[in-house]
Subunit: 264 residues, 2 copies
């Protein structure tokens, strides 16, 4: 049986993935190492997707682009292979899920371009290091996520509403969380909204569109951050003939440290 | 004769350009409005250039990309026309300067993609607002710029060393300038080096590679920021069959305010 407590670096996590020993979620593994979301598209979609990301950096913060014909992210994990080093993938054809394999060697094509996208794990770690509560982690749940009425800036075939994640905080903690996360523009940055859910088109805060509901206690306000589900939803709505993503919670663990992602 | 003091908004500056009344430098015009550099390449180079920018955000902070077939920057100046609204352009063929027209209507092609790049004017304004000295502005000179020994991350046909601009400051002012400019990642962000010029491959601080020399007084240290000449040098080294840039100092004045470019 896999002893997850021994997976203390990005390299060890990736080896466990490559050898088929780790096929599930990566939350809590290799503390301090940056984890990343994945989106893979055919070259024909790559410029438009990179442009969509440039126009929507809060929901879609690109950490690294791996060009067609390449499988190693030179900047974030130069020894890794993007086709094998996630615990689990999702393969989509025309926007429909067709498989959840543990590697994508058999579907790989030379014209695929891979995007590693920053993930909220990084700023949640910074919040917890500062003593701020992160409710869904305390409850061992997935973060609640909501579609909003705020459209992203479209680019080519990519468009759609911003999806946000929500963390309940006291007003003082919300202020502290704002200053802390503003220093991490590569992983969604500062919140996009604080308070009234209806102001951004959320009808029922207790019924998230993705993830799981968490309690907002007396004296707390909901704080909303742009969420990496946004580009994934835009990708699937564009219905490319083929695309790949990480399976939910099954991230890529890099060789870089969260602390390196601060501004400066 | 043009009364520059009346050009108080981006729109007024752009109208003066379009009507041929303004054909020179834009420094000091429309105070508070963000000015931008320009790079135009054929579509065939656009993905690689956007990727180069994504990998090198400090020297190449992209404010907006205007796609092939379009001439209006929807986000920064939706009424503008990029072909006429700069005071003066440079046209390059195979990396060689072939003209400095005041519009590019006659060379325009439907496959051109335009990049508006953040400019140091924005963070210099923020420094001066905070009471920090900006020596080359006091002396009415161009900022001194230097090629360094630090390579940029290449992307396709784009590569080359980082070019930096230098401003001399007291150690305390250098610290204040660092915190101020770190809040403007869209316009080069925090410095890339402070102190010893030789540490980044600069042999003689009194002989800049571009711009004009300025005095470093007793008790001051040179402070170096990534500079927008970097992507222009990379562009010309790639020798595309045709490319266009703004003429030096002849920027695009947008409808957006510098204050909007802070993180958050």
């Amino acid at each position: 049986m896999l002893d997850k407590s021994k997976l203390t670096t990005g390299e060890l996590v990736r080896h466990a993935c490559r050898e088929g020993r780790l096929t599930g979620q990566t939350a809590g593994l290799a503390k301090g190492y940056t984890q990343a979301n994945l989106l893979i598209v055919p070259q024909d979609y790559a410029f438009e997707f990179l442009l969509y990301a440039q126009r929507n950096p809060k929901p879609c913060p690109v950490l690294e682009v791996v060009e067609a014909g390449q499988v190693r992210p030179r900047l974030f994990a130069p020894e890794a292979d993007l086709r094998t080093d996630f615990p689990r993938y999702r393969v989509w054809r025309n926007g429909e899920l067709v498989g959840e394999p543990t590697d994508i060697l058999d579907v790989w094509r030379e014209d695929f371009v891979s995007f590693l996208i920053g993930c909220s794990f990084t700023f949640e770690a910074a919040m917890m290091d500062a003593g701020l509560p992160v409710r869904h982690i305390e409850l061992d749940r997935n973060v609640p996520m909501y579609r909003t009425n705020r459209p992203c800036e479209p680019a080519g075939r990519f468009s759609g509403p911003m999806v946000v994640s929500m963390r309940p905080l006291s007003p003082l903690a919300a202020i502290q969380a704002t200053t802390i996360t503003s220093r991490f523009p590569g992983v969604h940055g500062a919140p996009v909204h604080i308070g009234d859910p209806a102001a951004i088109g959320i009808r029922d805060i207790n019924r998230p569109d993705y993830g799981e509901q968490v309690e907002i206690r007396a004296g707390e306000v909901p704080v909303f951050w742009a969420c990496g589900v946004t580009p994934q939803a835009a990708l699937l709505a564009a219905k490319p003939p083929i695309a790949m993503t990480h399976a939910p919670g099954c991230m890529f663990v890099t060789d870089r440290k969260d602390a390196e992602l601060t501004i400066g």
